[in-house]
Symmetry: C2
Subunit: 394 residues, 2 copies
């Protein structure tokens, strides 16, 4: 009796779910320390101390009926101000509370934006490999996903194919840098070229094409680089931010949207996004954690922890002959599968208690995603197992 649409989603999601359950079963059979679960993007680094301190302070300072009560659908005014100011300090922008809507994480934010913008059959361009949920989010509003095929050399957007994919039904483009699943951070030069193409196509078709920048991994960058802030390069940019990875609080579901004043139909979009927040059933971002993140805008998770994992795993696996773009952000390696069918590779890996996600979940078969947001020991202990696994292919 469930809806026809949901039947497909349930069928397709059972693979990942089965893996998760298998991982849990393995752990109970062989012990947690004998299972190398690289399948989930659940941060292993604890939240910075400031998060707990903030909770304590807020409960002491504010009245419960206020701190746990309703506010505007867009969030507490002071929180939106704090978010705007922190963004301005970091990126030299000029946002105020008017530009910010607090959201139930980035997933909530993306749904709000897509509900706001999409008419049925509107196209949304994504670059493979991409976070598989984008497909469901776009289809929630009867939009059509248009996939630019992956550039296996760099895992950066293929701009020639991108330009070809834009047509008068193109309503939005979703970008995700630092990228899940590759960890690649797009360069300023690439952003500039992409922006140029978008402007040209907007003029050609007399439309507005919104660039939606999904940025849960913005703070997770290594080697001293920084991900360019997209509103500076392209007028019609909406930022979708999450504190999930920046503060290691993914379960709390807290993030925000940035709508720059320069957006075509700025006020109409903000008004609609507010209403979308309400009618999609979010109503508002969780209230206590709105206040918490406002106090933690300068807090940062311990990047050095992930960085160490990244170095050791990258070096370990490439020494074994596996190939992979060295990631400069997020906490994933996207590794070429030695088996032409990467699902087989993932299946074989389970023999060694190694869990990875097949690239086909990111519209990029032939690769596997390895999430290294795990304990350092897990990586050290997994490396010999990887070696055994890879020997099977030699």
């Amino acid at each position: 009796m469930i809806s026809e649409k949901m039947k497909n989603y349930v069928k397709n999601s059972s693979a990942i779910r089965a893996m998760f359950e298998e991982g849990r079963k393995m752990a109970s059979l062989y012990g947690e320390d004998k299972v190398y679960d690289f399948s989930l993007g659940n941060p292993n680094v604890p939240p910075p101390r400031g998060v707990e301190n903030a909770v304590m302070e807020i409960l002491k300072e504010e009245k419960g009926s206020f701190i746990h009560g309703y506010m505007n659908n867009s969030g507490f005014l002071d929180v939106r101000e704090a978010v705007g100011e922190a963004t301005n300090r970091k990126h030299g922008t000029a946002f105020s509370s008017d530009n910010i809507i607090m959201t139930v994480g980035a997933a909530g934010g993306l749904n709000v934006v897509l509900k706001t913008l999409l008419n049925p059959k509107d196209e949304v361009i994504v670059f493979a490999p991409f976070f598989g949920e984008y497909k469901s989010y776009v289809e929630n509003y009867d939009g059509v996903l248009s996939i630019v095929s992956p550039d296996m050399e760099t895992f950066c957007p293929n701009l020639i194919e991108f330009e070809e994919k834009i047509n008068k039904k193109t309503k939005a483009v979703i970008m995700n840098s630092p990228n899940n699943p590759t960890g690649v951070v797009y360069s300023e030069e690439l952003i500039k070229q992409l922006a140029k193409i978008l402007k040209r196509k907007e003029e050609e078709y007399k439309t507005s094409i919104y660039l939606i920048s999904d940025e849960p991994y913005r703070e997770l960058v290594y080697d001293g680089i920084e991900a360019p802030y997209l509103t500076k390069y392209y007028r019609n940019t909406v930022i979708v931010y999450s504190f999930s990875k920046a503060l290691s609080i993914p379960g709390e579901r807290i993030g925000y949207l940035v709508f720059p004043k320069e957006l075509d139909d700025f006020q109409e979009i903000v008004d609609a996004a507010n209403v979308a927040t309400r009618i999609l059933g979010f109503v508002n971002a969780p209230s206590l954690f709105q206040k918490v993140v406002a106090k933690c805008m300068n807090e940062k998770t311990d990047i050095s922890y992930y960085d160490k994992n990244r170095q050791v795993l990258y070096e370990g696996l490439t020494k074994m002959g596996l190939t992979c773009v060295k990631p400069q952000g997020a906490f994933y390696l996207f590794v070429k599968s030695p088996d032409p069918d990467e699902k087989n590779f993932c299946q074989r890996a389970k023999k060694y208690h190694i869990l990875m996600v097949p690239g086909s979940s990111f519209s990029c078969p032939g690769y596997v995603r390895i999430a290294y947001c795990v304990a350092y020991e897990t990586i050290i202990n997994a490396l010999p197992k990887f070696e055994e696994l890879i020997k099977e292919y030699k």
Copy 2:
């Protein structure tokens, strides 16, 4: 550039939003204590002490990366167990964690259920007057709202019209008792009759019709009565619960769904509801507050506070000649407007700094909703103003 659907929602929602803003403006012009804002269902009673204690305990007892981390989309297992057990103790049911999905409030829960069940053009029956958001929620999934007209005598469902409205496209019925906006609590006898009709019609059309019970006000009942627990009367019942009013924490967005094993296609529905939780962008109910409510299943907001407001306001207004069903639940009075156009009445009331919501927002024109979840003083000070207002109609 916003979507066509959203244009209508933005237009329609501007009325309530304008009122909210007018209220804020009035408060800054005349002072908070000179404005009688009965427009919002934002609980005025602070959360029970147990809520803050639970937060403190949890932060002390559990690791941050666990308490703020991801878990299954359905929520923490121990939390779902606690919810099931508490429900069993209170209502003599037999639920386990398998029957529970934690949600982003009741609004989130309703969206998950409707996404799970509805195919385009499926009909969902509601009883006027009803919470206006139901319309948006149903339309989010291309369902069609079928409205049973209000019974102005009792504000209980008109079962004759209900039966006539059921057809083979009827997929669900939304019930809301204690009711927003009337405060009426439906009797056991009425539930039994309604269940009988549903069973008869399921057999007639060889379909499953799901009864969705929206219960944010379950704990807010007076005069020693209790709202019947619907799963005991009708097999295909889904409960949508929220802690927003029970614990005065509406901003935290925490509630749950109950799927009894007796549901047609139980496992398929639960699996789909899990996936819906994810793809709608909720991902999971906020993690810390999942743990908080699990510790607060026996906590209760101070009902006596609302009860006092209810008595004083009901007696005050009826003495002035206004008519209204005496509510036994929630924190609203639904009062017959002395002006045939209740929007005029609400408009005039603003002269006296009284804010109320027109009944047309609940598909029941000619009435106004007065939310008495306000300070007692607000009611005492507002009564003479009501008197002046009503004099205009004599």
